[in-house]
Symmetry: C2
Subunit: 229 residues, 2 copies
Amino acid sequence: MTGRETVLRTAYHTKLEELRGDLVRMCDMVAGAMGQATTALLEADRELAEVVIGGDTEIDLLTEAIEGHCTELLALQAPVGHDLRAVVGALRISASLERMGDLAEHVAKQARLRSPRHVVPPELTPVFADMGRMGESIARKAGEVIDSQDLSKGSEVEAIDSKVDALHADLFSTLQDPAWAFGNETLVDLTLLSRYFERFADHAVSITRRVVTVTTGEPYVGVRLDDPR
Amino acid sequence: MTGRETVLRTAYHTKLEELRGDLVRMCDMVAGAMGQATTALLEADRELAEVVIGGDTEIDLLTEAIEGHCTELLALQAPVGHDLRAVVGALRISASLERMGDLAEHVAKQARLRSPRHVVPPELTPVFADMGRMGESIARKAGEVIDSQDLSKGSEVEAIDSKVDALHADLFSTLQDPAWAFGNETLVDLTLLSRYFERFADHAVSITRRVVTVTTGEPYVGVRLDDPR
């Protein structure tokens, strides 16, 4: 390697690390958004819902910025092998994170739509509180996997996802019980909300699996997301 | 340009055209899958539902193959400008198409889950038949936009999406009407199904807007997907 090549490689790896840092930051942002959206939902807090809805623009802009950085890296450095996979992986991961931000926004919009009423009946508040906590936790955990590249943490992400799937399935049994006493509007709302939380966790799993493909070079297909329905 | 460079550029553009052809083929595949899934749903045709569910693996494999081609193009040709955007765009578009395939599969799984019963009450069959037809049509139209790079066709995609959104909103009014007479299980099923069709159309819009960014170099953010809820 010439001196100039070494400088370029170092600059490149600095940029890759910045990219990774941005992805981790996005994980924390969508985790925070889902946490706040759940609080807004359960406390019928319209102001907080507006904060989440307004904040989604920032998540979208960061997605766009990451895509710009990826394109720049590809154009200027022409990476190959692991480094190329890291950039392609970052494009995919940022798309999942953008979608997770949208899902948190959907939860907040549902809170706003029914404000000042509560969307979730008191009997079901604990289930949604759990889903919110798990959503926040799985997004932060996905960030840790990206940050550490420690694939063993991936199983923790999958474990949280399984719990979310189980809550989702239980909730659907409750919703479809003929004894349901909270009316149609609530039924439709909770069906959608449960689906949002479930999809949010699925994306975190997808991100973690993407880190595996970047690190190992294994193809992504074959690793299917769980779908409880 | 040297002779060798010309040969490389020509090979590159041939590969880009192949990539475009694969994306168009995927549009037709997901269009067909959604058409068949809707038929399976409305005719309670379990065998056809199984065909759609089995066929999703092929869509997933084609997504993987496209990602492989993109990575190869990036590694071997180090494209810049429009050509680079085309590859990055293909990565994003194929991810949307994979998701559209999943949504068609979800519709088919819902048909299978309730088989041999019908999921959709006769009164609501026309709405879902419309949604299925529009889903099929919007996916094929997105394929035409990719194939022709004719951005004026993008407005046709947006127009179909608006119709799907309107059907979705109407259906939600029906579902949330206290006079709903088809029970909770059907209510939950139709809430999810309507959402699947709505998301399917959103992805087609997203694909079309992605073609715009590839062609014009404009950033993607600012072009937000409609969200009726």
